[in-house]
Symmetry: C2
Subunit: 373 residues, 2 copies
């Protein structure tokens, strides 16, 4: 199999989106290098427009939509997190109408961020099925193109521009560590690295419990259906805040701790509050389209990072690199500093993707030892 | 009067130190621009080696010492804060011996940071006089050169390299906002800007109560003697942490609040605990050598920023630019966003120096509303 997009598509993506995104700096930290025993190069996508890398893929996909259909009805997506903001921003840049489907109960701060870019908010029932259905209904009724957060080759190619910039500036990397959710960023980076520097290995860094490694090794989707949400703080720390605040006003406070400790979903079904925050919680499975790309281009070895470890990585990044990063970035930092000891062949020069910085500064996870995470 | 150093000395300084410091990125934030009503360009010295701009001046002064006296006895300074770390780092780079005088009771984390670079720690009584005396005694006994944190033209020229990089990358700035403590950074930047782009105004941003503006306008040192310490959280947030922890174990907790509210030192004399943290507290006066430079090259208008405002600026920087910054940087951010409305002639493009990022992440000032700051 060859990937349905290659280095050309990624280069074209960069040309397409360059004027609308930041070329983010690559920074280093002598202290973290000492701690890691190797050279780490941090690609600071936390400094990216809208606060995360998502804007790269969103811009590429939305701008292509605009090229295809300049006076078209616009775009639609479902996400109240980084992708929702990114698509809203991209649509604004392109001068396209945009609807973003978010579950009822989405915190006002997230709704504001999306509306700030002029997108229309559409509320739906807080279930994954309702979000997908609502999104598809809008697409059908209005003709708007659905911009999927990761199962979209134009989105993947857009995320691949991260590696283009990184490997241009730091050419001799042995490896790149990429936090993984749906797999769009890891796919794009893996394809770019494969073509630009075949010896550079691309590792996915997952929240503990994702079971990606087993699936990649067997080249089969081993995840149970329907897709589950992991109880991790990665990707959007606001989720954690929300959960905390929910439990702060309910007597079931300890329930969260019990679930986290056992790493099992002990809450009753159907989900209530957790479904409200589902969009910003990490889905266990990677996408249908990203999975084969990952099987071909990414390392089958995956680093599974626990919440404790993510928080340690997040804090190391903030203290030593002075970057405000979210927990998913912390996962990559932790992997870079602590997990490469036994990797063969040895990796000396490692790119680490700080994928986003959208974190609630009132709720930094190490500041609430009594509530735990 | 002409300054005892000019653009040549600053350019030479950059050539001298370039291999040992970071060229820090300049970042922008559309959201902060909207809030400010003008374009802000943040020079991210919080990403600098050792976590602050101080390393520029320290490297320049220490490397010049090395050139003058390659096999000399080394350098000495007194500071347990950013300057102490910076001199220790510079001496290590130069292969010179280094002593850093710190007051007894300096937190271990600060001592570790200095010793990490191989410098010798010398403890002294916790009074400004004892520190100065100890430093001078060591200089006399060992022949080591004293590296003053700001009253040293080589240090000032080193700090001026910030403006060199900033104005090279962003040539048409109307103004630069510089947090001021002893005045070394403001002096260096003012001299560089004066020569590179005479129309660019350099404004000092001071903690409320510093009285710099009056002194600059009258061209006289109006400060009472002996020098006082301001009760502000600027420059090293660890100070605040220390003060808090002191008061947390003493029944005089409210005393701090009363002092802050009245902006007067109500504590009994001689100072005890406060003197222990004196090195990282902002001294009210600027230096003897920096003052005339400032009178000539900096704006007489000075922005006085209260603690509340600094904290707002600090938080804006962390949320919107994703940069971990200390309170002094927050002062400049606040000034950039809130204080330029009535400035004539209008400033549209403004450089903002994020001077450092050495902040205690356990003690972010907005997280402890009950203890106040």
């Amino acid at each position: 199999m060859t990937a349905p997009f290659g280095l050309n598509e990624i280069k074209e993506a960069l040309t397409r989106i360059r004027g609308w995104i930041h070329r983010t700096p690559i920074i280093t930290s002598h202290q973290l290098d000492t701690l890691a025993g190797r050279k780490l190069f941090f690609k600071t996508e936390n400094l990216q427009k809208t606060g995360s890398f998502k804007v790269r893929g969103a811009c590429n996909a939305v701008f292509l939509e605009k090229e295809k259909n300049p006076d078209g009805p616009g775009v639609v997506t479902h996400s109240s997190g980084n992708h929702g903001q990114a698509v809203a921003y991209a649509a604004k840049c392109a001068g396209l109408a945009c609807s973003v489907v978010v579950p009822e109960g989405t915190p006002k701060v997230k709704c504001d961020a999306i509306q700030h870019y002029g997108a229309e908010l559409v509320f739906c029932q807080p279930s994954p099925a309702a979000r997908k259905e609502t999104c598809e209904r809008i697409a059908e009724e209005t003709g708007r193109a659905v911009i999927h957060p990761y199962d979209n080759y134009n989105v993947m190619a857009g995320q691949g521009t991260i590696a283009l910039e990184l490997l241009e500036e730091v050419p001799n990397l042995d490896a790149i560590l990429v936090p993984i959710s749906g797999g769009g960023m890891t796919s794009g980076i893996a394809v770019a690295a494969h073509h630009m520097q075949p010896s550079c290995r691309v590792y996915a860094v997952e929240p503990f419990g994702k079971m990606l490694e087993q699936s990649l090794k067997s080249k089969q989707r081993l995840w149970p259906n329907p897709p589950q949400f992991l109880n991790t703080i990665a990707d959007a720390i606001r989720t954690q805040q929300f959960v905390f605040s929910v439990f702060a006003v309910e007597p079931e406070g300890k329930e969260l701790q019990r679930c986290l400790v056992s790493r099992k979903r002990l809450w009753s079904n159907p989900p209530k509050f957790l479904d409200t925050v589902a969009d910003s919680i990490r889905i266990q499975q990677v996408g249908e389209l990203t999975f084969p790309v990952l099987c071909q281009f990414a390392e089958t070895q995956v680093f599974s990072i626990t919440d404790d470890q993510m928080v340690e990585g997040m804090r190391l990044a903030m203290e030593r690199t002075k970057m405000v990063v979210e927990a998913a970035s912390g996962a990559a930092v932790y992997a870079g500093v602590r997990c490469l000891e036994d990797v063969e062949p040895k990796v000396e020069r490692v790119g680490v993707i700080l994928c986003g910085g959208n974190v609630d500064l009132d709720q930094l996870p190490w500041i609430h030892p009594s509530t735990s995470y």
